[in-house]
Protein backbone atom coordinates (compact mmCIF):
# COMPACT_ATOMS: atom_id res chain seq x y z
CA UNK A 1 0.00 0.00 0.00
CA UNK A 2 1.41 3.28 -1.08
CA UNK A 3 1.26 6.40 1.04
CA UNK A 4 -1.12 9.24 0.38
CA UNK A 5 1.72 11.46 -0.84
CA UNK A 6 2.68 9.01 -3.52
CA UNK A 7 -0.94 8.58 -4.47
CA UNK A 8 -1.35 12.35 -4.77
CA UNK A 9 1.48 12.45 -7.27
CA UNK A 10 -0.05 9.51 -9.06
CA UNK A 11 -3.38 11.31 -9.16
CA UNK A 12 -1.79 14.40 -10.68
CA UNK A 13 -0.18 12.24 -13.33
CA UNK A 14 -3.43 10.42 -13.96
CA UNK A 15 -5.16 13.70 -14.68
CA UNK A 16 -2.71 14.24 -17.50
CA UNK A 17 -3.46 10.77 -18.88
CA UNK A 18 -0.07 9.40 -17.80
CA UNK A 19 -0.02 5.61 -17.55
CA UNK A 20 2.10 5.20 -14.46
CA UNK A 21 -0.28 7.34 -12.45
CA UNK A 22 -3.18 5.13 -13.32
CA UNK A 23 -1.14 2.02 -12.67
CA UNK A 24 -0.33 3.23 -9.18
CA UNK A 25 -3.91 4.14 -8.42
CA UNK A 26 -5.12 0.82 -9.75
CA UNK A 27 -2.70 -1.26 -7.71
CA UNK A 28 -3.63 0.66 -4.60
CA UNK A 29 -7.40 0.57 -4.92
CA UNK A 30 -8.24 -2.41 -7.10
CA UNK A 31 -8.16 -5.08 -4.32
CA UNK A 32 -10.55 -3.22 -2.07
CA UNK A 33 -12.80 -2.26 -4.94
CA UNK A 34 -12.90 -5.83 -6.13
CA UNK A 35 -13.52 -7.03 -2.58
CA UNK A 36 -16.38 -4.60 -2.18
CA UNK A 37 -17.92 -5.79 -5.42
CA UNK A 38 -17.41 -9.37 -4.46
CA UNK A 39 -18.95 -8.86 -1.03
CA UNK A 40 -21.95 -7.21 -2.60
CA UNK A 41 -22.56 -10.29 -4.69
CA UNK A 42 -21.32 -9.18 -8.10
CA UNK A 43 -21.11 -12.09 -10.54
CA UNK A 44 -17.85 -10.95 -12.13
CA UNK A 45 -16.19 -8.66 -9.59
CA UNK A 46 -12.86 -8.47 -11.42
CA UNK A 47 -14.41 -7.45 -14.71
CA UNK A 48 -16.62 -5.00 -12.92
CA UNK A 49 -13.61 -3.50 -11.16
CA UNK A 50 -11.91 -3.05 -14.52
CA UNK A 51 -14.98 -1.24 -15.81
CA UNK A 52 -14.87 0.99 -12.75
CA UNK A 53 -11.35 2.13 -13.50
CA UNK A 54 -12.03 2.55 -17.20
CA UNK A 55 -14.96 4.75 -16.33
CA UNK A 56 -12.72 6.71 -13.99
CA UNK A 57 -10.23 7.26 -16.80
CA UNK A 58 -12.98 8.60 -19.05
CA UNK A 59 -14.32 10.98 -16.42
CA UNK A 60 -11.09 12.07 -14.78
CA UNK A 61 -11.54 15.59 -16.23
CA UNK A 62 -14.60 16.08 -14.10
CA UNK A 63 -12.94 15.04 -10.88
CA UNK A 64 -11.55 17.59 -8.46
CA UNK A 65 -9.93 16.75 -5.11
CA UNK A 66 -7.22 14.81 -3.41
CA UNK A 67 -6.60 11.09 -2.95
CA UNK A 68 -9.22 10.75 -0.22
CA UNK A 69 -11.83 12.25 -2.48
CA UNK A 70 -10.59 10.10 -5.32
CA UNK A 71 -11.04 6.97 -3.21
CA UNK A 72 -14.58 8.00 -2.35
CA UNK A 73 -15.22 8.79 -6.00
CA UNK A 74 -13.94 5.39 -7.11
CA UNK A 75 -16.22 3.60 -4.66
CA UNK A 76 -19.13 5.74 -5.77
CA UNK A 77 -18.49 4.61 -9.35
CA UNK A 78 -18.20 1.03 -8.13
CA UNK A 79 -21.52 1.26 -6.34
CA UNK A 80 -23.22 2.66 -9.43
CA UNK A 81 -21.66 -0.02 -11.61
CA UNK A 82 -22.87 -2.63 -9.17
CA UNK A 83 -26.40 -1.33 -9.36
CA UNK A 84 -26.27 -1.26 -13.15
CA UNK A 85 -24.88 -4.79 -13.24
CA UNK A 86 -27.55 -6.12 -10.94
CA UNK A 87 -30.25 -4.51 -13.06
CA UNK A 88 -28.70 -5.89 -16.22
CA UNK A 89 -28.49 -9.37 -14.81
CA UNK A 90 -32.02 -9.23 -13.51
CA UNK A 91 -33.19 -8.61 -17.05
CA UNK A 92 -30.91 -11.23 -18.60
CA UNK A 93 -30.35 -14.07 -16.15
CA UNK A 94 -27.36 -16.30 -16.90
CA UNK A 95 -27.02 -19.88 -15.71
CA UNK A 96 -23.48 -20.46 -14.43
CA UNK A 97 -21.51 -23.36 -15.86
CA UNK A 98 -18.92 -25.20 -13.78
CA UNK A 99 -15.36 -24.60 -14.89
CA UNK A 100 -13.35 -27.81 -15.19
CA UNK A 101 -10.05 -26.00 -14.62
CA UNK A 102 -11.07 -24.60 -11.25
CA UNK A 103 -11.28 -28.08 -9.75
CA UNK A 104 -7.73 -28.78 -10.79
CA UNK A 105 -6.48 -25.57 -9.22
CA UNK A 106 -8.39 -26.15 -6.00
CA UNK A 107 -7.08 -29.66 -5.70
CA UNK A 108 -3.56 -28.37 -5.25
CA UNK A 109 -4.37 -26.50 -2.07
CA UNK A 110 -7.27 -28.33 -0.63
CA UNK A 111 -6.73 -27.47 3.02
CA UNK A 112 -6.34 -23.78 2.39
CA UNK A 113 -9.37 -23.78 0.18
CA UNK A 114 -11.44 -25.57 2.80
CA UNK A 115 -10.47 -23.11 5.49
CA UNK A 116 -11.24 -20.18 3.24
CA UNK A 117 -14.54 -21.64 2.37
CA UNK A 118 -15.37 -22.16 6.01
CA UNK A 119 -14.45 -18.56 6.84
CA UNK A 120 -16.31 -17.28 3.85
CA UNK A 121 -19.38 -19.30 4.73
CA UNK A 122 -19.33 -17.98 8.28
CA UNK A 123 -19.00 -14.39 7.11
CA UNK A 124 -21.66 -14.89 4.49
CA UNK A 125 -24.02 -16.15 7.16
CA UNK A 126 -23.31 -13.07 9.22
CA UNK A 127 -23.81 -10.59 6.46
CA UNK A 128 -26.86 -12.42 5.20
CA UNK A 129 -28.80 -10.96 8.10
CA UNK A 130 -28.00 -7.41 7.07
CA UNK A 131 -30.18 -5.26 4.95
CA UNK A 132 -28.70 -4.06 1.63
CA UNK A 133 -28.18 -0.55 2.97
CA UNK A 134 -26.48 -1.81 6.13
CA UNK A 135 -24.32 -4.06 4.01
CA UNK A 136 -23.27 -1.24 1.74
CA UNK A 137 -22.41 1.03 4.65
CA UNK A 138 -20.42 -1.58 6.53
CA UNK A 139 -18.56 -2.79 3.45
CA UNK A 140 -17.61 0.72 2.46
CA UNK A 141 -16.53 1.44 6.03
CA UNK A 142 -14.66 -1.81 6.60
CA UNK A 143 -13.42 -2.85 3.16
CA UNK A 144 -13.14 0.52 1.45
CA UNK A 145 -11.90 2.38 4.50
CA UNK A 146 -14.16 5.33 3.83
CA UNK A 147 -15.29 7.74 6.50
CA UNK A 148 -18.90 8.38 7.33
CA UNK A 149 -18.94 11.50 5.17
CA UNK A 150 -17.42 9.66 2.23
CA UNK A 151 -19.88 6.82 2.61
CA UNK A 152 -22.72 9.33 2.72
CA UNK A 153 -21.50 10.93 -0.50
CA UNK A 154 -20.97 7.56 -2.17
CA UNK A 155 -24.42 6.26 -1.29
CA UNK A 156 -26.15 9.62 -1.72
CA UNK A 157 -27.45 9.58 1.84
CA UNK A 158 -27.15 11.99 4.72
CA UNK A 159 -24.68 11.43 7.52
CA UNK A 160 -27.28 10.68 10.16
CA UNK A 161 -28.78 7.92 8.06
CA UNK A 162 -25.35 6.43 7.46
CA UNK A 163 -24.57 6.43 11.20
CA UNK A 164 -27.86 4.75 11.99
CA UNK A 165 -27.28 2.09 9.34
CA UNK A 166 -23.80 1.49 10.64
CA UNK A 167 -24.96 1.09 14.24
CA UNK A 168 -27.73 -1.33 13.42
CA UNK A 169 -25.49 -3.29 11.08
CA UNK A 170 -22.81 -3.71 13.69
CA UNK A 171 -25.38 -4.84 16.26
CA UNK A 172 -26.67 -7.44 13.85
CA UNK A 173 -23.15 -8.65 13.03
CA UNK A 174 -22.28 -9.02 16.73
CA UNK A 175 -25.43 -10.94 17.36
CA UNK A 176 -24.71 -13.35 14.56
CA UNK A 177 -21.06 -13.65 15.50
CA UNK A 178 -21.94 -14.52 19.10
CA UNK A 179 -24.44 -17.09 18.00
CA UNK A 180 -21.93 -18.76 15.72
CA UNK A 181 -19.27 -18.77 18.44
CA UNK A 182 -21.65 -20.47 20.87
CA UNK A 183 -22.66 -23.02 18.28
CA UNK A 184 -19.07 -23.79 17.40
Amino acid sequence: MESDGDLNEALIAARDNVSWGWNALYRSLAPTVTGYLRAQGAAEPEDLAAEVFVQAVKNIKRFQGNVTAFRSWIFCIAHNKLVDDSRYRSRRPVQPVADAGSDRVCSTRVEEQVLNNLASDRVRQMIAELTPDQRSVLFLRILGGLTVDEVARALNKNITAVKALQRRGLASLKKEFSAQTVSI
Binding site: K58, R141, L170
Partner: protein, 357 residues
Amino acid sequence: MDNYRGNDPEVDGIFDGESEDAWADPNVIRRITEDLREAYVLPLDDATQAKHLAAIADAISQNASRPRVLPLAQRPSTDGSRCASTFVRAAGSARVAREVSTASLASPFGARAAGTASTPGPRPRTPLAAVGSPPEPKTAHVSWIRPGAFVSSIYSKAAVIAAAIAVSASGLAIAGSLPDPVQTAFSEAAGAIGLDIPAPIQPPAVSPAPPREQAVAPPLLPEPLPVIPQEPLPVPIVPPPAPVAEAPRVQAPPPAAQFAPPAAPAEDLQAWLTELIRQALATANARAMNPQSQPEAGAAQSGQTGGQSWASENPWQSYGTNGAQTKAGTGSGSGYPSSSPQAKPQSRPAAGSSYDD
Protein backbone atom coordinates in the same frame (compact mmCIF):
# COMPACT_ATOMS: atom_id res chain seq x y z
CA MET B 1 -22.96 -3.65 21.07
CA ASP B 2 -26.57 -3.13 21.91
CA ASN B 3 -25.57 -0.72 24.63
CA TYR B 4 -23.06 1.05 22.39
CA ARG B 5 -23.32 4.83 22.45
CA GLY B 6 -19.82 5.64 21.25
CA ASN B 7 -18.88 8.21 18.63
CA ASP B 8 -17.52 7.71 15.16
CA PRO B 9 -13.80 7.90 16.01
CA GLU B 10 -14.33 5.07 18.44
CA VAL B 11 -16.01 3.03 15.74
CA ASP B 12 -13.18 3.91 13.39
CA GLY B 13 -10.74 2.70 16.01
CA ILE B 14 -12.64 -0.54 16.38
CA PHE B 15 -12.61 -1.05 12.64
CA ASP B 16 -8.93 -0.32 12.54
CA GLY B 17 -8.25 -2.60 15.53
CA GLU B 18 -6.90 0.22 17.65
CA SER B 19 -9.73 0.67 20.11
CA GLU B 20 -9.51 -1.40 23.25
CA ASP B 21 -12.65 -0.36 25.01
CA ALA B 22 -15.77 1.79 24.54
CA TRP B 23 -17.59 -1.25 23.49
CA ALA B 24 -18.75 -4.28 25.31
CA ASP B 25 -16.52 -6.57 23.31
CA PRO B 26 -14.42 -4.71 20.75
CA ASN B 27 -12.58 -7.85 19.93
CA VAL B 28 -15.72 -9.20 18.41
CA ILE B 29 -15.98 -6.31 15.98
CA ARG B 30 -12.28 -6.55 15.27
CA ARG B 31 -12.60 -10.19 14.44
CA ILE B 32 -15.59 -9.50 12.26
CA THR B 33 -13.65 -6.84 10.40
CA GLU B 34 -10.71 -9.12 9.91
CA ASP B 35 -12.94 -11.91 8.70
CA LEU B 36 -14.61 -9.65 6.18
CA ARG B 37 -11.29 -8.39 4.84
CA GLU B 38 -9.87 -11.86 4.68
CA ALA B 39 -12.94 -13.18 2.95
CA TYR B 40 -13.36 -10.52 0.31
CA VAL B 41 -10.27 -8.38 -0.09
CA LEU B 42 -8.00 -10.63 -2.07
CA PRO B 43 -4.97 -9.69 -4.07
CA LEU B 44 -5.52 -9.84 -7.78
CA ASP B 45 -3.39 -12.21 -9.76
CA ASP B 46 -0.97 -10.90 -12.34
CA ALA B 47 -3.01 -11.98 -15.33
CA THR B 48 -6.05 -10.14 -14.12
CA GLN B 49 -4.01 -7.07 -13.31
CA ALA B 50 -2.38 -7.12 -16.73
CA LYS B 51 -5.73 -7.41 -18.41
CA HIS B 52 -7.16 -4.57 -16.36
CA LEU B 53 -4.15 -2.34 -16.95
CA ALA B 54 -4.40 -2.98 -20.67
CA ALA B 55 -8.02 -1.89 -20.60
CA ILE B 56 -7.05 1.21 -18.67
CA ALA B 57 -4.27 1.96 -21.18
CA ASP B 58 -6.75 1.73 -24.03
CA ALA B 59 -9.04 4.11 -22.22
CA ILE B 60 -6.15 6.48 -21.67
CA SER B 61 -5.20 6.41 -25.35
CA GLN B 62 -8.80 7.04 -26.37
CA ASN B 63 -9.01 9.81 -23.83
CA ALA B 64 -5.85 11.40 -25.24
CA SER B 65 -6.90 11.06 -28.87
CA ARG B 66 -10.26 12.57 -28.20
CA PRO B 67 -10.28 16.16 -29.48
CA ARG B 68 -10.29 18.52 -26.64
CA VAL B 69 -13.26 20.82 -26.91
CA LEU B 70 -12.19 24.32 -26.14
CA PRO B 71 -14.57 26.95 -24.94
CA LEU B 72 -16.04 29.07 -27.66
CA ALA B 73 -13.98 32.10 -26.75
CA GLN B 74 -10.74 30.14 -27.11
CA ARG B 75 -11.43 28.62 -30.49
CA PRO B 76 -9.50 29.96 -33.46
CA SER B 77 -11.66 31.94 -35.81
CA THR B 78 -9.47 32.10 -38.87
CA ASP B 79 -11.97 30.21 -40.97
CA GLY B 80 -15.03 31.80 -39.50
CA SER B 81 -15.98 28.80 -37.45
CA ARG B 82 -16.58 30.91 -34.38
CA CYS B 83 -18.94 33.19 -36.24
CA ALA B 84 -20.67 30.25 -37.84
CA SER B 85 -21.12 28.40 -34.59
CA THR B 86 -22.25 31.60 -32.89
CA PHE B 87 -24.75 32.19 -35.64
CA VAL B 88 -26.13 28.68 -35.46
CA ARG B 89 -26.09 28.68 -31.67
CA ALA B 90 -28.09 31.87 -31.70
CA ALA B 91 -30.54 30.09 -33.94
CA GLY B 92 -31.09 27.66 -31.13
CA SER B 93 -29.17 24.52 -32.01
CA ALA B 94 -26.04 23.80 -30.03
CA ARG B 95 -25.54 20.47 -31.77
CA VAL B 96 -25.51 22.04 -35.21
CA ALA B 97 -23.17 24.70 -33.88
CA ARG B 98 -20.69 22.05 -32.87
CA GLU B 99 -20.95 20.38 -36.23
CA VAL B 100 -20.49 23.65 -38.02
CA SER B 101 -17.48 24.51 -35.95
CA THR B 102 -15.75 21.26 -36.84
CA ALA B 103 -16.95 20.46 -40.32
CA SER B 104 -15.64 21.89 -43.55
CA LEU B 105 -18.92 23.69 -43.84
CA ALA B 106 -17.55 26.19 -41.40
CA SER B 107 -15.34 27.92 -43.91
CA PRO B 108 -17.81 29.21 -46.50
CA PHE B 109 -20.73 29.41 -44.13
CA GLY B 110 -18.70 31.06 -41.43
CA ALA B 111 -17.22 33.52 -43.88
CA ARG B 112 -20.65 34.50 -45.02
CA ALA B 113 -21.95 34.71 -41.49
CA ALA B 114 -18.98 36.77 -40.44
CA GLY B 115 -19.24 39.15 -43.34
CA THR B 116 -15.60 40.03 -43.07
CA ALA B 117 -15.33 43.67 -43.89
CA SER B 118 -11.82 43.59 -45.35
CA THR B 119 -11.94 40.67 -47.74
CA PRO B 120 -15.26 38.99 -47.98
CA GLY B 121 -14.88 35.45 -49.14
CA PRO B 122 -16.14 34.34 -52.49
CA ARG B 123 -19.63 33.08 -52.57
CA PRO B 124 -19.64 29.31 -52.84
CA ARG B 125 -21.00 28.14 -56.12
CA THR B 126 -21.65 24.63 -54.97
CA PRO B 127 -24.61 23.93 -52.76
CA LEU B 128 -23.90 23.70 -49.10
CA ALA B 129 -24.93 20.10 -48.96
CA ALA B 130 -22.21 19.17 -51.44
CA VAL B 131 -19.44 20.89 -49.50
CA GLY B 132 -19.30 18.45 -46.64
CA SER B 133 -19.00 14.73 -46.69
CA PRO B 134 -21.81 12.82 -48.31
CA PRO B 135 -24.55 12.08 -45.86
CA GLU B 136 -24.89 8.60 -44.58
CA PRO B 137 -27.95 6.69 -45.57
CA LYS B 138 -30.65 6.86 -43.00
CA THR B 139 -31.00 3.13 -42.92
CA ALA B 140 -27.56 2.87 -41.37
CA HIS B 141 -28.90 4.17 -38.09
CA VAL B 142 -31.46 2.14 -36.31
CA SER B 143 -33.38 4.41 -34.01
CA TRP B 144 -34.16 2.75 -30.75
CA ILE B 145 -36.62 4.34 -28.43
CA ARG B 146 -36.58 3.58 -24.77
CA PRO B 147 -39.81 2.20 -23.38
CA GLY B 148 -40.38 5.25 -21.24
CA ALA B 149 -39.26 7.76 -23.82
CA PHE B 150 -42.64 8.12 -25.46
CA VAL B 151 -44.36 8.66 -22.16
CA SER B 152 -42.15 11.63 -21.37
CA SER B 153 -42.11 13.08 -24.87
CA ILE B 154 -44.12 15.97 -26.17
CA TYR B 155 -45.93 13.66 -28.56
CA SER B 156 -47.46 11.74 -25.72
CA LYS B 157 -48.75 14.96 -24.17
CA ALA B 158 -50.19 16.06 -27.49
CA ALA B 159 -51.81 12.67 -27.93
CA VAL B 160 -53.35 12.84 -24.47
CA ILE B 161 -54.69 16.33 -25.13
CA ALA B 162 -56.10 15.28 -28.50
CA ALA B 163 -57.75 12.24 -26.96
CA ALA B 164 -59.27 14.38 -24.22
CA ILE B 165 -60.64 16.84 -26.76
CA ALA B 166 -62.05 14.01 -28.87
CA VAL B 167 -63.77 12.41 -25.89
CA SER B 168 -65.24 15.66 -24.65
CA ALA B 169 -66.40 16.63 -28.15
CA SER B 170 -68.01 13.25 -28.61
CA GLY B 171 -69.80 13.58 -25.30
CA LEU B 172 -71.08 17.01 -26.15
CA ALA B 173 -72.15 15.80 -29.58
CA ILE B 174 -74.11 12.93 -28.07
CA ALA B 175 -75.71 15.32 -25.64
CA GLY B 176 -76.49 17.69 -28.47
CA SER B 177 -74.79 20.59 -26.77
CA LEU B 178 -72.45 21.58 -29.53
CA PRO B 179 -73.06 24.62 -31.68
CA ASP B 180 -75.39 23.97 -34.54
CA PRO B 181 -72.81 23.84 -37.36
CA VAL B 182 -70.52 21.56 -35.36
CA GLN B 183 -73.45 19.45 -34.22
CA THR B 184 -74.58 19.12 -37.81
CA ALA B 185 -71.11 18.06 -38.90
CA PHE B 186 -70.91 15.52 -36.10
CA SER B 187 -74.35 14.20 -36.88
CA GLU B 188 -73.56 13.79 -40.54
CA ALA B 189 -70.19 12.17 -39.86
CA ALA B 190 -71.67 9.79 -37.33
CA GLY B 191 -74.59 9.03 -39.58
CA ALA B 192 -72.16 7.97 -42.28
CA ILE B 193 -70.85 5.21 -40.06
CA GLY B 194 -74.20 4.25 -38.68
CA LEU B 195 -74.25 6.12 -35.40
CA ASP B 196 -77.20 8.16 -34.32
CA ILE B 197 -76.22 11.56 -33.04
CA PRO B 198 -78.98 14.10 -32.82
CA ALA B 199 -78.90 16.89 -35.31
CA PRO B 200 -79.60 20.40 -34.16
CA ILE B 201 -83.24 21.42 -34.02
CA GLN B 202 -83.99 23.54 -37.02
CA PRO B 203 -86.13 26.62 -36.38
CA PRO B 204 -89.33 27.06 -38.40
CA ALA B 205 -88.89 28.33 -41.88
CA VAL B 206 -88.89 32.08 -41.99
CA SER B 207 -89.18 34.11 -45.13
CA PRO B 208 -85.83 35.39 -46.06
CA ALA B 209 -85.10 38.81 -44.80
CA PRO B 210 -85.21 41.54 -47.38
CA PRO B 211 -81.99 42.89 -48.61
CA ARG B 212 -80.39 45.36 -46.39
CA GLU B 213 -80.82 48.29 -48.73
CA GLN B 214 -84.54 47.74 -49.00
CA ALA B 215 -85.01 47.23 -45.30
CA VAL B 216 -82.94 50.12 -44.17
CA ALA B 217 -83.78 52.90 -46.51
CA PRO B 218 -87.43 53.86 -46.38
CA PRO B 219 -88.52 56.38 -48.94
CA LEU B 220 -88.00 59.87 -47.61
CA LEU B 221 -90.55 61.43 -49.94
CA PRO B 222 -94.04 60.15 -50.35
CA GLU B 223 -94.85 58.54 -53.56
CA PRO B 224 -96.21 60.99 -56.06
CA LEU B 225 -99.93 60.98 -56.06
CA PRO B 226 -101.67 60.18 -59.24
CA VAL B 227 -102.04 63.27 -61.25
CA ILE B 228 -105.62 64.21 -61.58
CA PRO B 229 -106.17 65.86 -64.88
CA GLN B 230 -107.63 69.18 -64.13
CA GLU B 231 -110.03 70.61 -66.51
CA PRO B 232 -109.53 74.21 -67.20
CA LEU B 233 -111.68 76.24 -64.97
CA PRO B 234 -114.51 77.78 -66.76
CA VAL B 235 -114.26 81.41 -67.15
CA PRO B 236 -116.88 82.94 -64.94
CA ILE B 237 -119.78 83.85 -66.93
CA VAL B 238 -120.24 87.45 -66.72
CA PRO B 239 -123.85 88.27 -67.10
CA PRO B 240 -124.58 90.66 -69.83
CA PRO B 241 -125.65 94.06 -68.77
CA ALA B 242 -129.20 93.74 -67.80
CA PRO B 243 -131.76 96.38 -67.09
CA VAL B 244 -131.78 97.69 -63.68
CA ALA B 245 -135.16 96.26 -62.90
CA GLU B 246 -134.12 92.80 -63.70
CA ALA B 247 -132.98 90.74 -61.02
CA PRO B 248 -129.40 90.02 -61.23
CA ARG B 249 -128.47 86.68 -62.40
CA VAL B 250 -126.95 84.57 -59.91
CA GLN B 251 -123.63 83.34 -60.97
CA ALA B 252 -123.52 79.63 -60.77
CA PRO B 253 -120.92 78.49 -58.42
CA PRO B 254 -118.27 76.25 -59.86
CA PRO B 255 -118.35 72.67 -58.88
CA ALA B 256 -116.97 72.20 -55.44
CA ALA B 257 -114.82 69.35 -56.47
CA GLN B 258 -113.11 71.48 -59.00
CA PHE B 259 -111.97 73.99 -56.38
CA ALA B 260 -111.25 71.58 -53.69
CA PRO B 261 -107.68 71.93 -52.39
CA PRO B 262 -105.50 69.22 -53.76
CA ALA B 263 -104.34 66.56 -51.48
CA ALA B 264 -100.75 66.90 -52.54
CA PRO B 265 -99.10 69.88 -51.01
CA ALA B 266 -96.39 70.83 -53.45
CA GLU B 267 -96.95 71.04 -57.19
CA ASP B 268 -100.71 70.60 -57.13
CA LEU B 269 -101.16 73.28 -54.54
CA GLN B 270 -99.03 75.66 -56.55
CA ALA B 271 -101.00 74.95 -59.68
CA TRP B 272 -104.23 75.31 -57.77
CA LEU B 273 -103.23 78.67 -56.35
CA THR B 274 -102.11 79.88 -59.76
CA GLU B 275 -105.43 78.94 -61.24
CA LEU B 276 -107.29 80.52 -58.37
CA ILE B 277 -105.41 83.79 -58.79
CA ARG B 278 -105.98 83.74 -62.48
CA GLN B 279 -109.68 83.23 -61.93
CA ALA B 280 -109.81 86.01 -59.38
CA LEU B 281 -108.09 88.37 -61.78
CA ALA B 282 -110.51 87.46 -64.51
CA THR B 283 -113.43 88.15 -62.20
CA ALA B 284 -111.91 91.47 -61.21
CA ASN B 285 -111.45 92.42 -64.84
CA ALA B 286 -114.99 91.52 -65.61
CA ARG B 287 -116.26 93.68 -62.77
CA ALA B 288 -114.07 96.52 -63.91
CA MET B 289 -115.48 96.33 -67.41
CA ASN B 290 -119.13 96.42 -66.22
CA PRO B 291 -119.33 98.59 -63.14
CA GLN B 292 -123.06 99.44 -63.70
CA SER B 293 -124.21 95.91 -63.86
CA GLN B 294 -123.84 95.58 -60.10
CA PRO B 295 -126.68 97.34 -58.37
CA GLU B 296 -126.67 97.93 -54.73
CA ALA B 297 -128.97 95.11 -53.84
CA GLY B 298 -127.73 92.95 -56.59
CA ALA B 299 -124.31 93.77 -55.54
CA ALA B 300 -125.24 92.75 -52.07
CA GLN B 301 -126.61 89.53 -53.29
CA SER B 302 -123.84 89.03 -55.71
CA GLY B 303 -121.44 89.96 -52.99
CA GLN B 304 -123.10 87.52 -50.75
CA THR B 305 -123.14 84.92 -53.33
CA GLY B 306 -119.73 86.03 -54.44
CA GLY B 307 -118.64 85.83 -50.90
CA GLN B 308 -120.09 82.45 -50.60
CA SER B 309 -118.62 81.38 -53.84
CA TRP B 310 -115.33 82.85 -52.90
CA ALA B 311 -115.59 81.25 -49.58
CA SER B 312 -116.49 78.03 -51.21
CA GLU B 313 -113.61 78.52 -53.60
CA ASN B 314 -111.30 79.30 -50.76
CA PRO B 315 -111.97 77.03 -47.89
CA TRP B 316 -109.24 78.66 -45.88
CA GLN B 317 -111.04 81.93 -46.22
CA SER B 318 -114.30 80.34 -45.25
CA TYR B 319 -112.47 78.90 -42.28
CA GLY B 320 -111.40 82.40 -41.43
CA THR B 321 -114.94 83.70 -41.76
CA ASN B 322 -116.48 81.22 -39.43
CA GLY B 323 -116.20 83.69 -36.68
CA ALA B 324 -117.81 86.30 -38.88
CA GLN B 325 -120.64 83.93 -39.61
CA THR B 326 -121.04 83.34 -35.94
CA LYS B 327 -121.23 87.06 -35.47
CA ALA B 328 -123.66 87.16 -38.31
CA GLY B 329 -126.02 85.21 -36.17
CA THR B 330 -126.10 88.22 -33.92
CA GLY B 331 -126.81 90.44 -36.85
CA SER B 332 -123.45 92.05 -37.35
CA GLY B 333 -121.55 89.50 -39.42
CA SER B 334 -121.61 88.59 -43.04
CA GLY B 335 -120.09 86.00 -45.27
CA TYR B 336 -117.42 88.28 -46.67
CA PRO B 337 -113.96 88.01 -45.56
CA SER B 338 -112.85 90.54 -43.11
CA SER B 339 -109.82 91.33 -45.17
CA SER B 340 -111.82 92.75 -47.94
CA PRO B 341 -112.21 96.43 -47.25
CA GLN B 342 -114.70 97.00 -49.96
CA ALA B 343 -117.05 94.23 -49.18
CA LYS B 344 -117.70 95.12 -45.60
CA PRO B 345 -119.64 98.28 -46.10
CA GLN B 346 -121.63 96.60 -48.83
CA SER B 347 -122.52 93.64 -46.75
CA ARG B 348 -124.44 95.44 -44.08
CA PRO B 349 -127.58 96.28 -46.08
CA ALA B 350 -127.44 92.90 -47.71
CA ALA B 351 -127.34 91.30 -44.36
CA GLY B 352 -130.17 93.37 -43.25
CA SER B 353 -132.19 92.47 -46.24
CA SER B 354 -131.45 88.85 -45.75
CA TYR B 355 -132.62 89.06 -42.21
CA ASP B 356 -135.69 90.85 -43.31
CA ASP B 357 -136.59 87.83 -45.31
